[in-house]
Symmetry: C3
Subunit: 121 residues, 3 copies
């Protein structure tokens, strides 16, 4: 991504307990995004909410289930974002409790690539 | 909401300690959103910030007050979102410490309704 | 900001451990935003993610480092937002591990200024 360019923010709304096989889904998506070379990913966990299954989940009961609304935000050029979305679409469509995926256009004011460290995961 | 349609994201910035009567405001809004049939809601709690009252709240003192900036995000069709906003507007306008409500347009790439469970709240 | 006006949301993606001198960077930015008179700021900490340095950070190891993706969201009129961004740009460009700054247009449905309290920070 270039400074002063247009990019796409992809937001994936799932539950913190959604799984792909035995892997936590949001972890899987972040690792896949990194493999696909996307510029970055941020996973935000909500403290209350409900999604496509209309069940309200609350932080108050996290000790029991920790089932909380979770948003994964990914920002990159449109082509890369849409290609990545198509690659994870089958997984998202197979989720039992529903999900929501949105995009919105953003302007990149500054994108500064960092120095890699010795023990990069 | 349909796949590949346009929707509106409503963001409500309040404090985690705002109340409507004896109910926590963000809980009230989430339950009202569900009653209104909105597709989903996510409550994100910040760890530092300030709002319309210009008082900085920090997670560092959460044991004392847990007064933290809180964002409620709701996504649905424009008409439903605006109708819902008008229904909670009087409550928001009566808040003592101010609030901010914004909308932005998003594209829905995927909206998958989930299977309901036996003990739906 | 006026009700029913257009504003800009500035999103600054950094790490929770980024520092400006001995100050935590996200704290510094929030205090600078308040000094600049911006209407509000919200700092959201992610639980997993990676940024421009492509190192994945997880909440699972927070006891060791608490190095987590962090988003600072600021909303105000375009002119104020861009002026503020220029004032913190040198700091962001000097960060070793990279960062991402985006803007997007939002509509302000309601901005209610709060009553100040006696012990305003």
């Amino acid at each position: 991504m270039e400074n002063n360019s247009t990019a796409i923010q992809l937001s994936i709304f799932i539950s913190s307990t959604d799984k792909k096989g035995i892997t936590v889904l949001y972890e899987d998506i972040v690792f896949e995004a990194k493999k696909a070379g996307l510029s970055g990913a941020t996973v935000l966990k909500g403290m209350l909410g409900y999604g496509a299954s209309s069940i309200i989940h609350s932080y108050k009961f996290w000790e029991l289930a920790e089932k909380l609304p979770t948003v994964i935000q990914l920002i990159d050029e449109e082509e890369k974002i849409l290609k990545f979305f198509e690659s994870i679409r089958p997984t998202l469509e197979s989720m039992r409790y529903g999900c929501l995926v949105t995009t919105q256009q953003v302007n990149v004011l500054l994108y500064k690539s960092g120095q890699k460290r010795m023990f990069d995961l």
